[in-house]
């Protein structure tokens, strides 16, 4: 007897969001990247084709980080001291996007210079994060936004207490924003409402529901992302946005990744463990519906990329 696989019929769909602009589109990128556009839960190819596959962004810093794991320093080598070089290496490592994370030590002039050099070092679209302090974020992101008008950079990170300035400058200069909320469906919706209330097009918002690393709350993050996706497919306009998550940041702050000595022998090889941690965190999130995963180690990028290829193969 033939068995018919039941198919869900959804009323909603995820918006397709394009990051980066080519010269034809008013920017200087070699290509632009489109994410989102799904009309079913992830990878249910028998229900609906997946128009855009998940992409990988590699996180680089505007200055050589002194608090990153030596394993990451080994992987990137000298390039870490030069953001343009680092971005170039990241592109070679298979990145679809580059995240440039600015630091508190950057002046607005430094920040603009770094971003411009990265733009010339790579043809990939960019995501630019402020150092994570409201005033400093605004101080750095506004001039960057103005200096890169039309590039369709993702500016971040907007939070409910500090989104206005970033959104206003993104709107004025044709960029996008990343909207981060602490692992809660309602809070995600609320920030998306606040941002779109300012007049920002919903085609220019990536939502960042925040996540935890494997063993550090990933289940909760996974479930929030799944629920956001379900709400979106059920027709909730304020959740129909592609999701960006930062498994690299989360995984590399766990003890399992950070510490190489004085840990139980059973934990095995440090490097293998650290890369596994980042890879598994990222793949779980990709499976829950993440559209952009931000990673740090080139080896993890390779592995996550191959996992994505398997997932999207029909």
């Amino acid at each position: 007897m033939p068995i018919e696989i039941p198919k869900d019929k959804w009323t909603g769909s995820i918006r397709a969001v394009t990051i980066g602009a080519t010269s034809a589109e008013g920017g200087t990128r070699a290509k632009s990247i489109t994410v989102g556009g799904q009309t079913s839960m992830p990878y249910l190819h028998y229900e609906a084709p997946m128009p855009n596959k998940p992409v990988i962004a590699i996180e680089i810093k505007s200055r050589k980080p002194d608090d990153w794991s030596p394993l990451l320093a080994d992987a990137w080598g000298e390039a870490m001291a030069d953001p343009a070089q680092w971005a170039k290496k990241a592109e070679e490592a298979g990145a679809d996007l580059i995240v440039v994370a600015l630091t508190l030590a950057d002046s607005p002039e430094d920040a603009v210079r770094v971003i411009k050099s990265v733009l010339s070092g790579t043809g990939l679209p960019l995501i630019v994060w402020g150092p994570g302090q409201a005033e400093k974020d605004n101080e750095l992101l506004v001039p960057i936004s103005e200096a890169t008008k039309g590039e369709k950079i993702v500016l971040g990170i907007c939070e409910d207490k500090n989104y206005r300035t970033i959104v206003a400058t993104a709107m004025a200069n044709g960029h996008l924003v990343q909207a981060r909320t602490p692992m809660d469906v309602n809070l995600s919706k609320q920030l998306n409402i606040l941002i779109s209330d300012m007049g920002m097009s919903k085609d220019r918002i990536l939502m960042d529901p925040t996540t935890g690393a494997l063993g550090y709350g990933i289940e909760y993050g996974y479930s929030v992302m799944e629920r956001l996706r379900l709400a979106a497919l059920q027709g909730d306009a304020m959740t129909q946005l592609p999701m960006i998550v930062t498994p690299g940041f989360e995984a590399w702050k766990t003890k399992e990744s950070k510490v190489g000595e004085g840990v139980p022998e059973g934990w095995g090889d440090w490097k293998a463990r650290a890369i596994n941690w980042e890879t598994l965190t990222a793949i779980a999130l990709v499976e829950s519906g993440a559209d952009v995963v931000v990673l740090r180690h080139p080896e993890s990028v390779k592995r996550v990329k191959s996992a994505i290829e398997e997932l999207v193969a029909v």
């Binding site: 206005r164 709107m171 919706k189 606040l194 007049g199």
Partner: protein
């Protein structure tokens, strides 16, 4: 074409000549009349309503006017265009306010029509004329009094306390055997003897007041009503913050404080001080003395009753959340520590559970929910956010911690709804300048609950704060500024205020208000979900609380405190707990009904699953994360979008 507009205001006439298409408000201005336009002339507030008595006008917007109003010729001056010679009557401002349909004024307290002192009251006064003892009649004083009661008042058996017995010999002689006794008839066990409450050495006029008091001990506010038990009339109403506030704003922190060494005793004394001061103030108003008060009926949440009686309350806080007593026995003022007549009976009304106390059972009584035919929602917008849903057949209830914000506590410039409190605010959406109304019409001292509701709503609708409550510092007004705790909005400058300091709404205040309204909204939505009754099907929503005299329903809906439904279904009842205590004070049948209500109510524990938390976070937004639940607010906002954009200097 020019037209003559004639205005009549307070018997004075003035005229203006204006062209076709001129706005009535402009014509009034030309005529030298100042018609208030708190909302900035956008037809939002309805404060500029005037009556067209003759001539042709065109109304661009009739928001705020009922069909009846239009029938009577009312028009909003800021939304009405002149099309010919017109005669206009400008009503006094106060009259306009009373006409507005969005306001709900607390009903004046009226004595229940069926109140019969001699049948309903448990405390009664009896005049006795006793024969003096002689060498021949050697009956002892107490027996003589009992005989008098039997023969003259048909009282067969009466009890007396030792303290009172110690005084009767002197009182009988001082009154020369012409005395007045106050007797208390037993409530539940009618075969029990009566109790002698007081004996006065003179004849008291039958119709002179016999004093009782109804008390509501709220976590934040204590209310006392002084009542003449003979006529049933409320003669004085006083309220003050609970003195325990200094030791914690919510019941949990009070219980924790009470568990410390000496803490319980201190809290007990603090609330007794509050009650006794209020009693004294109330008595002074009617030229009586607290000792004249012979009966007190007390409502209050379970924690407040425990703390009043000095009963350890710690188990209320700990799972499985058990009170020491839900229904305390009758006591005397002497035992409890209330400075009424020491023998006055003190009746603490029965509660249901740890978090649904006698304030709610009394509130159900006074709101009439227990006799309602259709499903009705009763909200007590107080510190503990209790909700009751049901009708005459069933009652379910829940409680959630809302905090004291709507009673004006825990808010920088918050205050109780008394003289000097800003009770309503309108903000001009172009200039961000506020117009406010102060209780007593003097200089403002602070903002009370109803003022906070309308201020929050106006700040939101005009774009001063966003849906998350962030103050929009890009707004071009000196009233919007960076304060000590983030952005703030200045409602009244120092030169206008009583204290000389600016009266502000701070970011912290907004957060407290948001949490309070979210808790209450989540409480009743989850309760309604639990029993499967959609909010839209509620026949009525009864609102209790101590915001002030008014609650502006529209504003309460705009901030998402109340559900977005037809305003006619809302009824504002004021402090329902003290009113319930008042009814129980008067009438023993109503007192027994409260006992029945307490037995009938089913308590739903909100912390049993995470549905409350979900509902709470989605309500922690203005008006709500799910805008489809607030269609009227969406309309109000969309009509403002243009203005808001231009104010932040942004274009798409």
């Amino acid at each position: 074409m020019q037209h003559t507009i004639t205005f009549t205001h307070e018997d004075k006439q003035s005229t203006a000549i204006v062209p076709t298409g001129a706005m009535l408000s402009d014509a009034a201005h030309l005529a030298g009349l100042d018609i208030g336009q708190p909302c900035g002339g956008q037809g939002r507030c309805g404060r500029c309503a005037v009556q067209v008595t003759d001539g042709n006008v065109r109304r661009r917007s009739t928001l705020r006017l009922s069909p009846d109003d239009i029938e009577q010729g009312y028009a909003l001056a800021c939304q009405t265009v002149v099309e010919g010679d017109v005669a206009i009557h400008v009503p006094p401002q106060e009259k306009i306010e009373r006409r507005l349909t969005t306001d709900r004024v607390v009903a004046e307290v009226t004595v229940p029509a069926d109140y019969e002192y001699l049948q309903d009251q448990t405390v009664r006064r009896v005049h006795l004329r006793l024969s003096p003892p002689t060498m021949e009649d050697q009956t002892d004083d107490w027996s003589r009094l009992q005989t008098g009661l039997r023969l003259q008042a048909n009282v067969n058996k009466v009890n007396v306390s030792l303290a009172l017995l110690q005084t009767i010999g002197d009182v009988l002689r001082a009154g020369e055997w012409d005395v007045t006794a106050v007797l208390e008839y037993p409530l539940e066990h009618l075969e029990q003897p009566l109790r002698l409450v007081s004996l006065q050495p003179h004849h008291v006029d039958e119709y002179s007041p016999l004093w009782g008091c109804a008390i509501d001990i709220g976590t934040t506010t204590v209310s006392v009503w002084l009542v003449d038990l003979v006529s049933g009339g409320v003669r004085a109403q006083v309220a003050e913050y609970n003195g325990q506030i200094a030791r914690g704003e919510d019941v949990i922190s009070r219980i924790m404080y009470a568990s410390k060494k000496g803490g319980g005793q201190e809290l007990r004394q603090r609330v007794l001080d509050t009650i006794n001061e209020l009693l004294e103030t109330a008595c002074k108003r009617v030229k009586a003395k607290p000792e004249d008060v012979v009966k007190a009926t007390i409502a209050g949440n379970s924690t407040m009753i425990h703390l009043l009686l000095g009963i350890p309350a710690s188990n209320i806080r700990l799972s499985p959340f058990i009170t020491a007593v839900n229904h305390p026995p009758l006591m005397t003022a002497r035992e409890v520590g209330i400075n009424a007549h020491p023998e006055a009976s003190v009746d603490c009304l029965p509660g249901v559970a740890s978090y649904v106390g006698a304030d709610i059972t009394a509130g159900v009584l006074s709101s009439g929910l227990d006799t309602a035919e259709n499903v009705t929602l009763f909200l007590d917008v107080g510190t503990n956010g209790e909700t009751v849903l049901g009708n005459r057949d069933w009652l379910v209830t829940c409680a959630c911690s809302a905090g004291p914000a709507f009673e004006g506590a825990g808010v920088v410039n918050g205050m109780r709804a008394t003289t000097g409190a800003i009770e309503e605010v309108w903000i001009n959406s172009e200039t961000f300048e506020p117009t406010y109304r102060v209780i007593g019409a003097g200089k403002p001292k602070g903002i009370c609950g109803s003022g906070l509701i309308s201020l929050l709503s106006e700040a939101f609708i005009t774009g001063i704060i966003d849906k998350a409550g962030n103050v929009n510092l890009m707004a071009s007004s000196s009233r919007v500024r960076e304060g000590a705790h983030g952005g703030e909005y200045v409602v009244a400058w120092g030169e206008e205020s009583e204290s000389g300091a600016d009266i502000v709404l701070s970011r912290v205040d907004v957060d407290n208000l948001l949490r309070a309204k979210a808790a209450i909204y989540a409480g009743f939505t989850v309760l309604a979900d639990t029993v499967g009754v959609p909010l839209e099907t509620m026949d009525k929503v009864l609102i209790g609380g101590s915001f002030g005299k008014y609650i502006n329903i529209e504003k309460a809906v705009q901030i998402g405190l109340l559900p977005d439904m037809d305003w006619s279904r809302f009824e504002f009842l004021g402090n329902t707990a003290v009113k319930g205590a008042y009814y129980a004070l008067l009438d023993w049948k109503k007192r027994e009904r409260i006992t029945e209500i307490a037995k009938r109510m089913t308590y739903i524990e909100l912390s049993a699953d995470n549905s409350f938390y979900e509902a709470f976070t989605s309500a922690l937004f203005l008006p709500h994360t799910d805008m489809s639940k607030f269609p009227s607010v969406a309309v109000a906002l969309s009509s403002k979008v243009k203005g808001r954009r231009s104010n932040v200097g942004m274009t798409e």
